[in-house]
Amino acid sequence: MARDWQGVLPDLALSLPAFAPELIVCATIVALLLTRLFGMARWLPAGSVAFGGSALATALACLQWGGAFESPSDGWAGLVRNDALTVYVRVLCLLGWNLTVTLTLLTGVPRPSIDPADDDGPDFHVPLAAVALGSVLMGQANHLLMLFLAVEMASVPAYVLVGFRKGSREAGEAALKYLVFGAGAAGVMMYGASLLAGVTGTLSLPALGERLALIPLEGLEWNEPGVGGAAIAGVVFILCGLAFKLSLVPFHFWTPDAFQGALAEVSGFLSVAPKIGAFALLVRFGLSLHGPFGETGDALLTGLGLACAAGAAVSMTFGNLAAFAQKDLGRLLAYSTVAQSGTMLLGVAACFLGVGRGDGDLAVAGLAGTLLYLTAYLFLNLGAFAAVAIFRNRTLRTDVASLAGLGSKMPWVAGAFAVSLVGLVGLPPTAGFVGKLAVFAAALSDRVGSPLLFAAALIAAANTVASLFYYFRPIRSLYLDAAPEGTSGAPIGPPVTGSERAYLVLLAVPVLLILPLLGRLGALCDAIAEAVL
């Protein structure tokens, strides 16, 4: 095929500025790899490099706010889309990365070493940065190939991160499980993408909707041989691959093992950034099915929406039930992640169903709800895992029982942890409530039109009550249970430093003070949703 070389330079000129934060991440990765050379690590530790890079990338991403709303554009010859959602995902993921790097500096992970040969810094921070890069790419993929690449970019380094604790059988097993699961999911997703490409003759997401419109609606049956069945299978398989990233039931099995085996800092990051990216990607992929004159695409989209609603209900219920019995904080928060993903998926389901039957209000409300929830979730989950990491450094344990009586011994950390957990339940006045409210409001808005969505929202409400039980077990340990006998007077580990406190406060403040700011934030999420739709 002849290549239009004329268009390359203008395309580059347009794509590069928008891509600046990603380039910074890449540069940071290269710089991290270079710190090992020439003894640079002695005066420039990897952690500092990562911190500088992440701060710069986040700042650059923030500077892109206004522009993306005014002039959304395609970049890299249509491989990526640069619009409000892209910038939103970019800011949240890079901010999450920056916060995680800050936490690792505070908690001393990986252990700093003067001997460059023994320093794990670059080995830790390179995959961390790569996951951030993958997550950001997921938020802008506009092409089935890019979809696959972005998901893999976020996954492969994550396998390394999970297995980072050398010599730990737990971590090794978790990484292996994660890898095997991830490879399977990637294969299935790749197959789905190839089916869709075969059916439509295009890999580009914006072209998908138009091409699907060419398939007659009657041909859209499972048992129908030919393109209809292949299109359905393609959509389902891609959903499977994304469900793995979102740790939705039944693709969640890696989550508890990985989050228990990995360091709490890593688990926190993995529970946030790739998830934000994957939700954006799911939305982009789903919306691409809808095209002009696209009855067939809309039918597929409605089906996808219903599948999301059902998947949401199953994920919440299963995640919550499984979390009841957990004794390890990492596992408990892992199952909580499964349940939270389910609740957030409810908003996406509302969005898909709304677009599928031309109800714009429902679509905007659903997508805006999920975006609001994701914003809250970033701070809630990072806060919770940060508290676990700081507790772990003192008690050298991560089980729920190890928290007994710490409420009065480490009041700041305990308070921050409690705030995060209360937020994860979704109680006012925390950020978690706002997210839940927005998602519920969308899902409950049409009882007659979409009964399955309504039912899923009722199940979500019941699940919120159930989740109280396990989210409050750590709180009970912290505040209600007495410290174990004989240790009541003794201090535990080194005292919590001022910077650790400041970090926790930094994460807790947005969670607690969201209500006065809700007007601006809600309007922002609405604007993004409207821009994308």
Binding site: A368, S408, V422, L427, P428, P429, F433, L437, A438, F440, A441, L444, S445, D446, R447, A457, L458, A461, A462, T464, V465, L468, F469, F472, R476, Y479, L480, D481, L515, L518, G519, G522, A523, C525, D526
Partner: protein, 534 residues
């Protein structure tokens, strides 16, 4: 002071006190706490009452309305207001918190946290009674939960962790039912030209098909109203609590420290009754019309079941807790007294229910205080091991006797008025429920008099720690005497409460009647059209 800012001050003064207490040194925590609660009490009485009577009500009977933009994208507004239904409960809240704060004076364990949570709780309760925006209502309704969890869980009795989480789980289940209902109504209100709204006044107009302006013609269909009504009723039945949702209450009461029990019984249960009057009925009148009989029946069941359960208790505090279930049944009985043909009885039922809430607020606070006084001294609550307190602690026993009589509904004391009025009102609506409720008064007398006999009368107390049975301190006497004086005053002269409630209740009953009438006419019209078509 700007009268409109008064309500905001009432709601957020305790919250400001909570922040201040948390930052202040532990030694002065109780001073700040008591000071804030006293200031709030003064605001709810000395400032609020004159302002209330001076103000002119708006179209919806609300006075001193504060209204401000809050969250544009969800059309959430910051709206506070007070009317005859909420005013008695706001004053009661201020009073009960003041007395409870006085009872908490000697809390020595983690005083800063205790007083912070205590004050936060007051913000939640007052805000719930004053909010006119459903979102605001819900947020403040939930703000009550967390402080209560910790107050029971940290300062409670031996089984406190269990009781605290049970309370939390039950109430949160109710809250979520409420949330679902509110969001359904929110969406239904936006089905026309106007944006979805959380404004209670607008939504109640829409629910009875009387919306004006851009909401003209918007209605909420019967199915949505029915579902929303049962969801909201479920929430408030848990809060009230009514049988069979009451099982959290005995545990929570028994494990909670005395001042918290006083608040729980005195004020928090009233949120249930208030919610039915303020939300469940006006926002879903069609659902309510169909369900009122069941409300009435549940009231009767609660009265009888609560009384029978109270009879079986040997723990003084558990007995009082079950008596709360029984007494709150009268509230439900009055609220269920829907008599479309006789609006006077209907109004009497609602007014009686509000009066019963106030009366029970006083008697239950007093009874829990009485239990607390004994428990502080002898560290047990076994009714059968007490006796002869009339001789050992004459002032305490006299006040305790008086309070018991007020609780059992002796004429001339405040318990009687609420019970009598609600039973009268329920008669035309549901004679069986009224008869059962009247029988409940006898059962109440049964367990109360048995308790009186075992605790205050009889042979001298020879149980453990008898040397600790000292006279009431001045502080304790003052708390108890205030409650007793109010019990007598409201029993002899209940008029002030009824004067305040009647206009608001009249308005509410009229609008509910209109809603049912309008629906009937609509249905008739449709039948006629359908008939003509045939």
């Amino acid at each position: 002071m700007d009268p409109a800012a008064l309500l905001s001050l009432i709601v957020f003064l305790p919250a400001a006190g909570a922040v201040l207490t948390a930052c202040a040194p532990a030694a002065v925590a109780r001073w700040i706490g008591l000071g804030t609660v006293a200031a709030t009490f003064l605001l709810t009485t000395a400032a609020l009452l004159p302002a209330y009577f001076e103000a002119t009500p708006d179209d919806h009977g609300m006075r001193l309305v504060t209204d401000a933009e809050w969250v544009g994208s969800f059309n959430i507004r910051y709206t506070l207001g007070v009317d005859g239904i909420s005013l008695p409960l706001v004053v009661l809240t201020g009073l009960v918190f003041l007395l409870s704060a006085a009872t908490s004076w000697n809390v020595s364990e983690k005083p800063r946290a205790y007083w912070s949570l205590f004050l936060l709780l007051e913000t939640g309760v007052l805000g719930t009674f004053l909010a006119l925006d459903l979102f605001l209502f819900y947020v403040l309704f939930e703000v009550m939960l967390l402080p209560m969890y910790f107050l029971i869980g940290v300062w409670g009795g031996p089984n406190r962790a269990y009781a605290a989480i049970k309370f939390f789980l039950y109430t949160l289940a109710g809250s979520l039912l409420l949330l679902v209902a509110l969001l359904m109504l929110y969406a239904a209100g936006g089905s026309g030209v106007g944006a979805s709204t959380f404004d209670m006044r607008l939504l109640s107009d829409i629910a009875r098909g009387a919306g004006t302006g851009e909401y003209a013609g918007v209605t909420i269909d019967r199915g949505t109203q029915t579902l929303a009504f049962w969801l909201m009723l479920g929430c408030f039945l848990i809060k009230l609590p009514a049988v069979p949702f009451h099982t959290w209450l005995p545990d929570a009461h028994v494990e909670a420290p005395t001042p918290v029990s006083m608040i729980l019984a005195g004020v928090l249960l009233k949120v249930g009754g208030y919610g039915i009057l303020r939300l469940a009925y006006p926002l879903a009148p069609l659902g309510a019309a169909a369900g009122a009989e069941i409300v009435c029946a549940l009231g009767a069941v609660s009265i009888i079941y609560g009384a029978l359960a109270a009879m079986a208790q040997t723990d003084f505090k558990r007995l009082v807790a079950y008596s709360s279930v029984s007494h709150m049944g009268y509230v439900l009985l009055g609220l269920g007294a829907w008599t479309l043909s006789e609006p006077d009885f209907w109004k009497m039922g609602f007014s009686g229910a509000i009066f019963q809430m106030v009366g029970h607020g006083i008697t239950s606070t007093g009874m829990f205080f009485a239990v607390g006084v004994l428990y502080d001294r002898v560290h047990h609550r076994e009714i059968n091991r007490f006796g002869g307190l009339l001789r050992r602690m004459p002032i305490y026993a006299a006040l305790g006797l008086g309070m018991s009589f007020a609780a059992l509904g002796l004429p001339g004391l405040c318990g009687f008025v609420g019970e009598a009025v609600t039973v009268f009102a329920a008669w035309p609506a549901s004679p069986w429920a009224a008869a059962a409720a009247a029988f409940g008064i006898i059962l109440t007398a049964g367990y109360m008099l048995r308790m009186v006999q075992r605790v205050f009368l009889g042979a001298e107390y020879v149980g453990p720690l008898r040397e600790n049975l000292s006279q009431l301190s001045g502080r304790e006497t003052a708390i108890f005497a205030v409650l007793m004086a109010l019990a007598v005053a409201l029993g002899v002269y209940p008029r002030p409460v009824f004067d305040v409630t009647e206009p608001a209740v009249g308005r509410l009953v009229d609008t509910l009647g209109d809603a049912v009438e309008a629906d009937r006419e609509r249905n008739d019209g449709e039948t006629v059209i359908a008939g003509a078509a045939e």
